[in-house]
Symmetry: C2
Subunit: 378 residues, 2 copies
């Protein structure tokens, strides 16, 4: 499934979406080489617009912009590079920032052949991707994700967008990137907690789709915690491959298949919300949420207890929490009932049947959900 296309130090994942297919290149110590990849993949590029998170502008966006500007292309001529930065954090996913960036692209002379390159985490990918989807009714864009979560989650799937004051991710477009460029070296400067929280989504792919990958994670957890480049490249590639196969079956979230990516997330959103946003990082809440979901599956007789045992050990080995002492079903249940995955007032969950396989279950008894929450309240 995962093939190496650039020698031993690179992995490459194809996201198969008919005429919108694209490639994810996963390397280490290669930021200079990113310019070559962009030029090779998007042959006729003459104008690149780099939109970077201000936190990585100096370290990652500037060298990439410089390499693009100085690229030797013979008769194809030099590449003109425009560059701007965006404040870190969710508040940048606003209509005001969307408008500012559109006017900036216009002022920089952007046309249908211009290419936007997004350098940052999920916020930058979502925002810059939506600008690319909207300018001139859609121009190409390249993602350079700089957090582990963005590498294994938002770099695949084509969801772009911004927030309304009252609703997260409520405005946007499905717009696939032309290319995704991952360099694991970017992760070396991430704080520990933020880095480790990205591993929760990696573990998720093992549980929902790929038992063999789960085995790999069990035997390489310490490498991953130590940010070993080889282990990271493999884990990122397998995660992207899993997400790509799910998204390939349900690009626009119409068949329901894509819902399996929400394993642990209904609980996680209720944990984040009742703990107060900021108490847990998203990945930490996902780790606890997956524990609650696995417990619920066991209580409902859907899978045996060894799944929860192995999941618990792997989450612990990745330095993530597995329980929550303040879990309160009375506070969490109302939040879960408002979740967009609730249909007609019935709770629905993605629950594992064995490692590598999940089912979507509707109409689950509230008492069973409360029980699962209380069992993880330690």
């Amino acid at each position: 499934m995962v093939t190496s296309s650039q020698g031993p130090a690179a992995e490459c994942v194809n996201v198969p979406l008919a005429d919108r297919s694209y490639r994810i290149e996963i390397t280490s110590d290669a930021v200079g080489g990113f310019a070559d990849s962009i030029i090779a993949s998007l042959g006729d590029v003459t104008h690149v617009l780099v939109i970077a998170d201000q936190a990585v502008e100096q370290s990652w966006a500037n060298p990439l912009a410089a390499a693009l500007e100085s690229a030797e292309r013979g008769t194809a001529g030099a590449i003109r590079v425009s560059q701007t930065s965006v404040a870190s954090g969710e508040t940048s996913k606003s209509i005001a920032e969307f408008e500012r960036l559109l006017q900036w692209v216009s002022a920089e002379g952007g046309d249908r052949r211009s290419v936007i390159v997004a350098v940052g985490g999920g916020v930058i990918g979502d925002l810059a991707g939506y600008v690319a989807a909207s300018y001139a009714r859609g121009i190409r864009f390249v993602q350079v994700p700089t957090t582990l979560l963005a590498m294994v989650d938002s770099s695949v799937g084509g969801k772009t967008g911004i927030n309304l004051p009252t609703a997260k991710n409520m405005v946007g477009a499905f717009w696939q990137p032309s290319l995704v460029l991952v360099d694991t070296s970017v992760l070396s400067t991430l704080p520990d907690r933020s880095y480790l929280s990205g591993l929760a989504e990696v573990i998720k792919y093992g549980v929902i789709d790929d038992a063999e990958f789960f085995d790999y994670l069990e035997s390489h957890a310490s490498d991953l915690v130590a940010r070993d480049p080889k282990a990271l490249r493999h884990a990122i590639a397998r995660s992207c491959q899993s997400k790509a196969s799910v998204v390939g079956e349900d690009e626009r979230e119409t068949s329901g298949r894509r819902a399996i990516l929400n394993y642990g997330h209904t609980f996680a959103h209720a944990i984040e919300s009742t703990a107060g946003y900021g108490t847990f990082l998203h990945g930490e809440a996902v780790a606890i949420g997956m524990q609650m979901a696995a417990q619920l599956a066991i209580d409902l007789g859907m899978c045996d207890a060894t799944l929860l045992d192995r999941q618990t050990k792997l989450i612990v080995a990745c330095g993530l929490p597995t329980t929550w002492a303040d879990a309160d079903p009375d506070a969490m249940l109302p939040v879960m009932m408002r979740d967009k995955k609730v249909a007609h007032g019935k709770l629905r969950f993605i629950l594992p049947t064995r490692l590598g396989a999940v089912d979507l279950l509707g109409d689950i008894d509230e008492a069973a959900v409360r029980d699962a929450i209380v069992k993880l309240k330690k």
Copy 2:
């Protein structure tokens, strides 16, 4: 090609776009029936958001909203209807109005199954269509065009969008409607000049794509000027059919085929711009622009002079201008050079080879273009 599906007083055009195909229903005196069409075509609709041009809110949006609200659907339950209006005119195609409408849809509890119904001309279709494309990454929308231009032009093609302060239609999406409902009775209240200007685009389809339709227009020009419902239904259906066949071959404007819809428009934009916006209505400038394009084709030996004779007579019969006494090539040429259809500083034109067929010609000599302009300066 055009089939009647609802008895003698209705025509129906299918726009074939794979999984985004949709139907255009063209009737007269049928606004009450529009609610039935919407319910029949979008079976599971429970929430409709009507966005209307304020100029047609009372006369056309209110009755449609009332008919939707009172529709008898048995176990399917009543339809909840939300309604808002937008100020007439191009200035409503702004990011500010886009944001207001998105927040309104959210406040009205819009979800992925909600349906937006746009009642108005091109401005409303473009704006409300872009809101539909963007809310929850895309919800269904129905177009109820209320000008002749919107009926034969923007109702087919899926181009939605808004303006930046510095660039028209620079932000948007390709987003196909689920259904287009045309009632020719809406046209009865249009002022003469505005109504007649819509006929210029109708004539355009005869020249670029459909010689038989051109014959029909010659023999029914007086009926069309008198707004005869039967002639109008036929002319609208044939125009939509022509545009649908072009758009079906080139939905996202990538192959160049869609460019033939710009016949006369490179001249027209230069006429509108140098005359000062507001001097000519768009259709009036298109009429003169088609005359200049036909003249240029004759001068270049691409077609014979009878094409221009017949086109001139038909335009006159439709009450539209064929010449422009103030035409100034020195002022028009620079505008044409900035047109987005110019590639690498070479002028490109859509020029007729005979009635019903056009070619895209690049690298046309500037002197020939000047000559054609001067010949229509009468």
